[in-house]
Symmetry: C2
């Protein structure tokens, strides 16, 4: 079973590249599932800031997935209206894959009907929009609710992935992966941009 | 002037993709320099965990750079012996570009002669190796010494980039970029893998 990561034109780079790195280290140092980049077709995908990435498989050639991670970006609001992509996500969930989203990737899960009756986290910019769509939003770094994991914006997918590995394989494996990623971030909060924005509760609560 | 990010076969994905995201948001929300991926040639680059990325420019077609970031990975120890790449890095520094490294990218800077008389940080796994090469190593998340910035492993390039932006454009710009990256990481340290490894001082000092 592989660990699938969806990409699409306009996807926010770090939304999927952070989890990719964590999945890659899990594979290398602790026999985790092979990470694969899945896209609608096999052409190069131009991401939000212009990085061009080649998918490994398309929807038709995707191997069986233990999990599918759906990243975000402004383009997620187009992707949530694309029946082919939404169907692919729903089919993976129906087949038993755990589904994870980063940032506004939550809206693709919403479109696939995977958030019904669930609690979810998302990018602080779209918390209100997700709530207005009827979802119970937790303003946290990430949320785990049954077979659905959701995280806050952009960089938060890294934290969610470590939590997912800890839950799936135990704390010691997450510890090994964290050490190889040298993921011991500087806790510094620069300036006060958060003071003038409608940020999530966990950000407001930081020192 | 652009913000150059070097890539090469076997480069560790997050080493350059973390800084790329931060540079991309700096460009989008605060008029930062355009990020460009620079490689020896224009073919797809297969990274450490298998992600294939297309460079934007090769050495010959690179635009003027205000800065060049050199990521790491095990392949950095091959790249440091490649005269074409090392020359490119040295020429950028000679032309006045700030040079930044992530992880074992420090060894490429070393090969280019850019660490003479300087203090540097690197991945915890290669601190001893860099010291044995005669460099004064600071076991910190990142280090700034004149026109040379160096960071610890893999994920640490994100922290270094925010510090670079704060120094270059002020705290308020770094604050805006941090908020758009939603880079307010979970401080959790999983398990005790660090207890059985010769980790850097800043990691040992974490709660």
């Amino acid at each position: 079973m592989s660990f699938g990561i969806l990409i699409y034109p306009g996807v926010e780079e770090l939304d999927f590249q952070g989890p990719w790195e964590i999945a890659g280290l899990w594979r290398k140092y602790a026999e985790g599932p092979a990470p694969v980049l899945v896209a609608r077709d096999l052409g190069a995908v131009a991401c939000a800031h212009g990085m061009r990435v080649l998918p490994d498989v398309d929807f038709a050639s995707s191997p069986p997935l233990e999990a599918l991670l759906v990243p975000g970006g402004f383009a997620a609001f187009d992707v949530m209206k694309d029946p082919g992509t939404v169907d692919f996500v729903r089919r993976q969930a129906d087949a038993g894959a755990t589904v994870l989203s980063v940032c506004s990737g939550t809206f693709v899960l919403l479109a696939a009907g995977l958030l019904a009756g669930r609690v979810a986290s998302t990018n602080w910019k779209v918390v209100k929009m997700l709530r207005d769509a009827g979802v119970t939003v937790r303003e946290e770094r990430w949320t785990h609710d049954g077979p659905v994991w959701t995280s806050a914006g952009v960089s938060a997918g890294i934290d969610m992935m470590l939590a997912y590995i800890a839950e799936r394989c135990g704390e010691a494996v997450a510890s090994t992966v964290q050490l190889h990623a040298e993921y011991f971030p500087d806790p510094r909060v620069y300036g006060d941009a958060r003071g003038s924005a409608d940020v999530s509760a966990y950000i407001r609560a930081l020192p």
